[in-house]
Amino acid sequence: MQLVEGEREEILACVKEVLGNNSKTRENLIPILQQVQKKLGYLPALAMEKIAEGVSVPAVDIYGLTTFYNQFRLNPPGKHQVKVCLGTACYMVGGDITLESFERRMEIKEGETSPDRRYSLDRVACVGCCTLAPVVVVDDQVEGKVTPTRVDGIMLALEENGESPGEQKSGTEEDGNNGEN
């Protein structure tokens, strides 16, 4: 994943700070990774490399660890985050087909983020409303009975809302604020 402008500096500063706050031992690896992820929203490769150097652990082992545990994400959260439930109930009624439809529409795989960082796609296990299966959480909003046709609808809505109206609105608001100040 390509870093955006200024991100490199942000990552380096964040890792430096977290490493400064923890003793740099192997036992502290997971807390260190958690803290960095909390600040950056994900664990970029650069952060993993710097942590590896700091804690004197091979970088490939950090990668092994962060791909082992589900709690770590290696891709930045997208502007729109879609989480497809693959809990038992959702799986039974075709949650995997729903996930595939999203993968096709977004042209990314589960766990990935689109190169423009517009979308990220993840799987989750039971979000607690199995009667609505198959369930999808779109930007923290729960959507029920998401068949592949509904996937098209959701994607259309996201495409429209992100495109200009939404962005422009917040953009003008900010401009307005700036003007007032």
């Binding site: 490769a45 993993m48 091979p58 490939v60 990668y63 791909t67 082992f68």
Partner: protein, 215 residues
């Protein structure tokens, strides 16, 4: 140390050094026990391939020979219905996600899986377990060799060679369960890492996953 221990394996008395692991004591005396993941120098073996089961008299269940130290007077059987069943299942599990195509494989006739199959009379075929195909990108970025993960049995021999032999720290394992995979940092192609192509890992691979390119 000159001190020796006597162990009985398959009605054969053999001598071993105290602290030796049963697997290596047997192999050194030409008694075959299937194995993929064992590394002689490793103090605490991974025991992950589950192929080296044996029966020890007085121990109720089969144990992995690569992790068990020899003991004076130990009586061992390398075969029993229970052992055979465990080994067969472990072997079939390994094959179930293996890109089984020996004729086109660089390791054909020089492959640990073929040897185990022959020794134990297990067919090198997908039958009881449904094949599970995983697709991987071939990494042929090094000049001399290539890595085809579809034939990797996750034995860890290359990781050991890379770390202890070459001290390059290129290889490791990522993900878990059925997705477990031999990896490099961030899954980068080997040529983009500090691999100097010493090829110790290629020589360590018991199957056709790491292999020399033909020129």
């Amino acid at each position: 140390m000159s001190e020796h221990i006597t162990v009985n394996i398959d009605d054969q008395e053999i001598k071993a050094r105290p602290g030796d692991k049963l697997l290596w004591a047997a192999l050194e005396n030409n008694i075959y026990i299937p194995h993929l993941c064992a590394i002689k120098e490793e103090k605490r073996p991974n025991s992950s391939c589950r192929l080296c089961f044996v029966e020890i008299e007085g121990v109720s269940r089969p144990v992995t020979a690569c992790s068990r130290q020899v003991q004076e007077g130990m009586v061992v059987k390398t075969r029993s219905p229970q052992v055979d069943r465990l080994v067969k299942t472990a072997f079939e599990l390994l094959l179930s996600d293996h890109n089984l195509n020996c004729r086109e494989c660089p390791a054909n006739r020089n492959c640990a899986l073929q040897k185990i199959a022959k020794e134990r009379g297990i067919k090198l075929k997908h039958n009881r377990l449904k094949p599970f195909n995983r697709t991987f990108e071939l990494d042929d970025s090094p000049d001399e060799f290539a890595l085809d993960r579809s034939r990797c049995v996750l034995c860890g021999q290359c990781v050991w060679a890379d770390r202890v032999g070459a001290e390059a720290w290129i290889f490791g394992f990522a993900k878990r369960g059925i997705d477990r995979v031999l990896t490099t940092f961030n899954n980068l192609p080997l040529a983009e890492l500090s691999c100097n192509e010493c090829t110790l890992c290629v020589d360590a691979c018991p199957v056709g996953a790491l292999y020399y390119k033909k020129d």
